[in-house]
């Protein structure tokens, strides 16, 4: 069976609209889903979850969110870390205030609160564009982190200024707090990722996504054919912030367990997620995952090879890691500015002709 559309006839527009129009793609998708839900949970241990799966899945949500805003709607944001902090502190306050309500609802509400904050900081986007908007969102980043450090109400007046995730469970399985099992951590992240990726895909392939991309590609033309630019930009900010807020909530509650705004959600986090979508591919769902995987897995891989494999001192390996990651980013931007998603697309186009390229 070859990788191509030929022979796989679509007889309705519904079929034609599907996410994976090529049969092998569909099968690949089902296999990945099967492995992710039915195989991995039985084999993960703490190391794999804490250093690979949990950060990958959570960063994938954040990257999806930023990709909606920057990749699809064309509004550059450097405030991702700040918005993740909003999600984290929101879920913390909710978890403490309403211990009987399910954590899933808390996480979604935290996303909703972040969406509202995102819309507020998105308001200037109607007037300012490009670099200037980036600077405005940078202000959001610093302002939000400052607020969470300065106002003790947010961290419930704890002496350390940290927030700690209390123990909560879903269907009787503990998912937050120090007693969480590895597979439970993995599963809750996975469920959120799969659902949100599906939502992101639906929004971006529908009219919402077209409006966003219209604003990105040519805002004046979009306005003249009937896109309300304010609404399009603000919905992009809202949806994006919702995703980022959910990611922040999970990052704090499930992954870290304890967080401090400046340390966990600083400007470095904003840049990390921006790198993810640039390396992964702007305006691509797959790219968000690819970029998150690249930025999470590469350091783990390097550390294992250099320290574990070659026996180098840890500090030397850590510094080399910075240089290698930095170098790879630069090389990537020069060779393939459209990211891993574009490489994947090109591979697929080649595959469609293989083995008879002429």
């Amino acid at each position: 069976m070859f990788y191509r559309e030929a022979g796989d006839f679509k007889t309705s527009y519904k079929d034609d609209n599907q996410t994976f129009p090529i049969r092998l793609d569909r099968m690949g998708y089902y296999i990945v889903m099967f492995v992710a839900f039915c195989v991995v949970p039985f084999f993960v241990n703490d190391y794999w979850v804490n250093s690979v799966f949990a950060p990958f899945l959570i960063y994938a949500i954040a990257a999806l969110g930023l990709n909606i805003l920057t990749g699809y709607a064309g509004q550059v944001s450097l405030g991702t870390g700040g918005f993740m902090a909003v999600g984290a502190y929101a879920v913390y306050k909710l978890m403490v205030a309403f211990p009987d309500v399910s954590i899933v609802i808390h996480v979604l509400l935290a996303g909703g609160i972040t969406a509202v904050v995102g819309v507020l900081f998105g308001l200037p986007s109607l007037r300012i564009k490009g670099f200037y908007l980036a600077v405005a969102t940078l202000a959001a980043q610093f302002f939000l982190v400052w607020v969470f450090n300065k106002v003790p109400w947010f961290y419930n007046y704890s002496a350390s200024g940290q927030i700690n995730a209390p123990e909560r469970s879903v269907f009787g399985v503990i998912v937050t707090g120090p007693n969480t099992e590895a597979w439970a951590k993995y599963m809750i992240c996975l469920v959120f990722v799969v659902v949100l990726a599906w939502v992101a895909r639906n929004l971006t392939r529908g009219m919402m996504g077209r409006k966003w991309m219209g604003i990105r590609d040519m805002d004046i033309a979009a306005e003249i054919i009937g896109v309300n630019p304010l609404m399009a930009k603000l919905t992009a900010f809202a949806v994006s912030s919702f995703f980022v807020g959910v990611a922040g909530a999970l990052f704090f509650a499930v992954y870290l367990g304890a967080a401090e705004a400046g340390e966990s959600f600083g400007i470095a986090k904003s840049f990390l997620i921006l790198f993810m979508i640039i390396i992964g591919g702007l305006g691509s769902i797959f790219g968000s995952f690819a970029g998150a995987a690249f930025m999470v897995l590469l350091p783990v891989l390097l550390k294992n090879v250099l320290v574990g494999g070659l026996g180098w001192p840890t500090d030397l390996a850590a510094h080399l890691e910075f240089m290698v990651v930095g170098g790879l980013i630069v090389i990537f931007l020069i060779l393939e500015p459209h990211g891993l998603a574009q490489l994947w697309r090109l591979t697929k186009e080649k595959l469609r002709l293989w083995p008879f390229p002429h």
Partner: protein, 274 residues
């Protein structure tokens, strides 16, 4: 010829019915600082007709189109749409009223496929809210399929089936122009504005485009206002022509009337100073 062009509606020689006035522009004046781009111009566009706006470079034709599409706000004068005065509105509100346009320099969304570009033309027809779209069920999915069918009709009509799924950025100029027309047409506009639909095209492409414009008008009854520099095309296509020069209207009427208008001849050929 006995047709009374002032009647409420009349039938042209080739059997098309021209209806009442759709858009009436009254005493439009548009200034940019000290520059007067449009000076006290009035004309109307009637339902079902092909109305051309011509004039030398810098005459204010594109500004006029921008006034009609709500992108520029004239300092003086009123725009009447379907008999009622149009209040100050944003361009997207004008689009919601049923105006669609193409641009002189193609304004397509380069990152999207041809199909997605054409689908954006139908955004005013799709009402599903963000939550329905997020789960892609019910109204969202139904609307997507219904509007896809409408877009496919336009795609068939403009003969661009083969590039349906191609990103617009990869297309050659002539096809981009056609896709832009498709996007405007997909909106099923009550008034379609075309800003130099044939600029930069070779003879064959111009013939195709002329055919599309005539067929559009004939089959869908679309009212069209167009700006064009190719006089042969304008005179052949249009029912009535407005001639502008230096922001003023110097002629208005059927192609024959305009062709014989001394002011128009002077504007195009120059006046001898002997």
């Amino acid at each position: 010829m006995t047709t009374d062009m002032n009647a409420d509606s009349y039938v042209t020689e080739d059997g098309r019915t021209i209806g009442p006035v759709v858009m009436d522009l009254k005493n439009i004046t548009l200034r940019f600082g000290g520059v007067v781009a449009i000076k006290d111009i009035s004309f109307d566009i009637r339902e079902g007709e092909i109305r051309a706006i011509i004039g030398p470079n810098g005459a204010g034709k594109s500004s006029m189109l921008n006034v009609i599409s709500g992108f520029y706000k004239p300092q003086e004068g009123e725009v009447y749409f379907r008999g009622s005065k149009r209040p100050q509105m944003k361009p997207y509100q004008v689009a919601q009223q049923g105006l669609a346009r193409t641009f002189q320099n193609i304004a397509l969304f380069d990152g999207m496929t041809v199909l997605d570009n054409i689908m954006t033309g139908r955004l005013n027809k799709m009402k599903a809210n963000i939550f329905q779209q997020a789960i892609w069920k019910g109204k969202a999915e139904r609307e997507e399929i219904e509007n896809r069918e409408a877009c496919e009709k336009v795609i068939d009509f403009l003969e661009i089936q083969h590039i349906r799924k191609t990103p617009v950025g990869r297309l050659p100029y002539g096809l981009k122009k056609r896709v832009e027309l498709a996007r405007a047409l997909a909106a099923e506009p009550s008034l379609l504005l075309l800003d130099e639909p044939m600029a930069g095209m070779n003879v064959e492409e111009k013939e195709d485009m002329s055919r599309f414009i005539l067929d559009m008008n004939d089959e869908f009854g679309t009212t069209i206002a167009l700006i064009e520099h190719d006089m042969g095309v304008v005179m052949d296509l249009s029912d009535r022509v407005v001639v502008m020069d230096y922001g003023k209207k110097i002629g208005d009427g059927t192609p024959d009337e305009v062709r014989n208008n001394q002011d128009v001849i002077d504007a195009y050929l120059g006046v001898s100073h002997d």
